[in-house]
């Protein structure tokens, strides 16, 4: 057999609808209902302001370590906005604004990052998994949800989020492969924020794009401007529709930027320059979408100021509620909750010993 070549008809679509100069590609502009636009804008603004507030609370020692989302609002929100409420959402740990859109409560973020286990409670009506800190580990779960959706013939899809760094983990590749082999209704949304702590995107993979990783699994891969909510929404809606229609999985790479620290324990000055951050500040997703909403006539300066006040009050109330909770001593017995369906005898014994210990400590405290 002579040497031959196999032509594979692969390409990566790159999508931008509203660019950083404010130029709109009307042919690509997605239809967003007049109710949807202001809701998206409000959530985005809330996410931005709440992120800022959490950062200041952390700096004052009022909550613990957390991962800010600043700069990634559009790529999270644009994706999750394409979901229905009973679609499944499988986050990693930097999707605060997407979770807000899905109904998460502000004070639960504060309580979670203040170390209160109560904060991870998930409403019975919600189809949202808890945050997943082990990088990429949640992707196979989305695949399992999607497999079950298909098995049960449900009109649902699963969407999962992860970072650029996650694409290096085996779980990422295993999940994409399974999703493709079984042709499952799952959408993989990569938040390529250019950094995995101190490792720049180009040291994470030698590939030109992250989207192209889909090609090895023969699934559509698309790269979108992640700071352009319209582009992200358009790509996500298409992927969700395809998945719902039995067309299988999609990988969406949102090209965005982590404008803030990795977590509040991180010092980015060790590995990146302010100049680089400045470049991305110019592409701020919030400003861009806000301008679009103004152009569309659903927002004006007065309304924005009003919104800022509403949001400030909403955040203030949530901080108040959370801090009231933080001031109360958490119930120590909660250590033994939600371990098994039935607490095994070994743990019943440990819980009893713990109760005696607490009583002894209270006694000691009383007698000094």
């Amino acid at each position: 057999m002579p040497k031959s070549e196999l032509e594979l008809p692969y390409r990566i679509e790159v999508l931008s609808v509203l660019d950083e100069t404010g130029h709109l590609d009307q042919a690509l502009e997605p239809e967003l209902t007049p109710e949807m636009l202001p809701r998206l804008h409000r959530t985005m603004l809330l996410g931005r302001r709440f992120d800022e507030r959490m950062l200041s609370l952390q700096r004052q020692g009022r909550i613990g370590t957390f991962p800010p989302i600043k700069g990634q609002e559009a790529s999270q929100l644009g994706a999750v906005a394409a979901l229905e409420a009973n679609d499944w959402m499988v986050p990693c740990f930097r999707e605060m604004v997407a979770q807000l859109w899905r109904g998460a409560r502000l004070e639960n973020f504060l309580l979670y990052y203040a170390g209160f286990d109560e904060a991870v409670a998930i409403g019975a009506e919600q189809h949202d998994l808890p945050v997943s800190i082990p990088v990429a580990s949640q992707l196979p779960h989305a695949v399992g949800l999607a497999w079950s959706i298909k098995y049960r013939n449900q009109p649902q899809v699963a969407m999962t989020f992860f970072g650029d760094g996650a694409t290096s983990e085996g779980d990422f590749h295993e999940a994409l492969n399974f999703a493709s082999v079984f042709q499952l209704p799952v959408v993989f949304v990569c938040q390529n924020n250019q950094w995995a702590i101190s490792i720049p995107r180009h040291r994470q993979t030698h590939s030109r794009t992250l989207a192209q990783k889909a090609l090895a699994y023969d699934m559509p891969g698309i790269q979108v401007d992640g700071n352009d909510l319209l582009a992200v929404f358009r790509a996500a809606r298409e992927a969700v529709e395809r998945a719902r229609g039995g067309g299988g999985p999609t990988l969406i790479e949102c090209v965005t930027y982590r404008m803030s620290v990795h977590t509040t324990a991180d010092d980015p000055s060790r590995y990146r320059t302010d100049a680089e951050v400045e470049e991305w500040v110019k592409r701020d997703p919030l400003e861009r979408f806000q301008r679009y909403c103004i152009d569309k006539g659903v927002l004006d300066q007065t309304r924005i100021e009003q919104l800022e006040q509403e949001i400030a009050a909403e955040i203030q109330e949530a901080v108040g509620r959370a801090e009231a909770k933080m001031k109360q001593e958490p119930d120590p017995m909660d250590l033994f909750e939600h371990m098994y369906d039935q607490l095994p005898r070994t743990l019943v014994e440990q819980r009893e010993a713990f109760t005696r210990q607490l009583a002894a400590e209270r006694e000691e405290a009383r007698h000094g």
Partner: protein
Amino acid sequence: MAKMTMVQALNLALRQRMEADDSVIVLGEDVGRDGGVFRVTDGLIDQFGENRSVDTPLAESAIVGMGIGMAVFGLRPVCEMQFSGFSYQAFHQIESHAARLRRRSRGRFTVPMVVRAPYGGGVRALEHHSESREAFYAHIPGLKMVIPSGPRNARALLVSAIEDPDPVIFFEPKAVYRAFREEVPEAEERLPLSRSQLVREGRHVTLVAYGAMVRPTLEAADQLQAHSGIEAEVIDLLTISPIDDELFTASVKKTGHAVVVHEAPKSFGPGAEIIARMMEKSFYYLEAPIIRVTGYDTMFPLFAREQWYLPNARRIARAVQETLKH
């Protein structure tokens, strides 16, 4: 001699081993430019370059798997798992290969590799960042599992671990990382692996602890002495596996009483192994049941409750008084 934190002492150990031996290579997530998220590898990239302080992509399995290949070739990789809670992604490489290659090649290949990982609670961390799962690794034949308790022994043990011809899992108590300083001599020191240390002499009871639990155990011993005249002997295990059972069984023969402390969950934890050996080797000297002061068989809670999960000096002292009632 300089007063150093454990982070600085570990950094010194790596630096001196890398100066002495160009086959020593540090690799892991953020170990280069960032100097490691706890700064244990700080400055190594400046002194030794990015081929010896290697920032890898985010994949623990590949970090350890690649380490195995490097070790087989003759290098001495020191892999960093950013947190022990993310070492499970590398677990199969450790269990299936690192621990076995010597036997699987009838001694032709060996894996002189160190896998470092911060472990343990007490630092108000996020989920998956506070667990103590040393038992997973201590249970694997062919591995060594080491846990220092202070700056000076951390430095000396890490040097020994790097020089050891077999794979060593090296857990670093992050609650101790910056908690206190100790004099650490400039000249390289070594401590033998599989050798525990007597850190406090006493006649009445034997306390065995390791890692971050050594300090509260010593504190409990001081309180017991001050308030009740109880003289507790404290043994710092230093190596979990292969375990040194000579010192603590000899101690129990003297005291007749023992309390074992760890922050790992109680069931099937290192305490069970320690106590089994006390039963096997010093049974006739025991005067009372041995008590374990440990984490519970529950999930490590988020940090608002971690003080109730972690053993502390009061809990340890109460256990001692209880065992001495007999």
